[in-house]
Subunit: 178 residues, 2 copies
């Protein structure tokens, strides 16, 4: 196996608190151990580096995610597995990413809103409910669930290891033929 | 030779029309033939993909070039030689890029303003002189020449092949020890 044909983009989409970054990090550790090149394009980091000045209106979210997609595709072209844990709430935008990316996997990180809100790892739901964060996905901005994700993980019902194993299997089925 | 340790960032800085893209493209062809991974982050393309809404004020130019630098470093981290043909007129910003990049080469693509203006490949000088393009480098925005570039090419006096050969030698001296 060489990593040359491994380049691909893996979008982890789901509500804030659904477990997107946790899954991406766990998968990264396993991929690196196996010798793959991996990069996590974390939503917060990319906003800081590439999207200063953009907010959370639908137009700004769309522009932010398009930029992440551009960078992810550049990396994938050079053999990197680019993992993108971002909410990516709009179906049309995810479809656009898929259409523009030679090898693309959509992982639906699914947990009910009340579970995510109860977890509230960054305290964002509390601030959104208090009216401090307008356009918050699940509260006053929609999340459109994927119709046909490549992988679905129910993080309220399944252990992280089970979820990672399912994503891993999907990737390996591709990578072993790359 | 493997390309794994080859990752680096090469900034081609100079006036519009100095020959930055021409040199970057010519170097790219030679690097690809030799088996390296290469990506040109062209200023115009990156503006379209990452910097919609940014103009040409010093603040906006700085932000645009920081974004290009972020993407170039990501690519370099994965073994890619990232070539950046952009004007990058400010000394402090180029110093910031160098400081933030593990392996960085500054190529000063040097031709006098009157030569660049006579070439005017995109018709931009004409528009700038007519007042249609405010903040145009060399006309009403400064170009601060590098004090100590890694390579300098006088594109008004030297043939492209000579310039590319000089950059190539500089890169190879690094890559053969990587």
């Amino acid at each position: 196996m060489t990593s040359d044909g491994a380049g691909c983009v893996v979008l982890f989409t789901g509500l804030s608190g659904a477990g997107k970054s946790t899954l991406a990090q766990s998968l990264t550790a396993r991929l690196i151990e196996a010798g793959y090149r991996v990069e996590i394009l974390d939503g917060d980091a990319v906003r800081r580096e590439l999207s200063k000045g953009l907010g959370f209106t639908p137009e700004d979210r769309t522009e932010n995610i398009r930029r992440i997609g551009f960078v992810a595709r550049l990396l994938a072209r050079h053999g990197v597995i680019a993992l993108i844990p971002v909410i990516a709430p709009y179906r049309a935008l995810r479809a656009e990413m898929r259409a523009g990316t030679p090898t693309f996997f959509e992982v639906y990180v699914n947990a009910p809103l009340d579970v995510c809100e109860h977890r509230d790892p960054k305290g964002l739901y509390r601030r959104a409910r208090a009216g401090d964060l307008p356009h918050f996905t699940g509260i006053d901005d929609p999340y459109e669930p994927p119709d046909a994700p490549d992988v679905e993980c129910r993080t309220d019902l399944e252990a992280i290891e089970i979820c990672v194993e399912r994503i891993w299997s999907k990737l390996m089925a591709h990578l072993e033929h790359a």
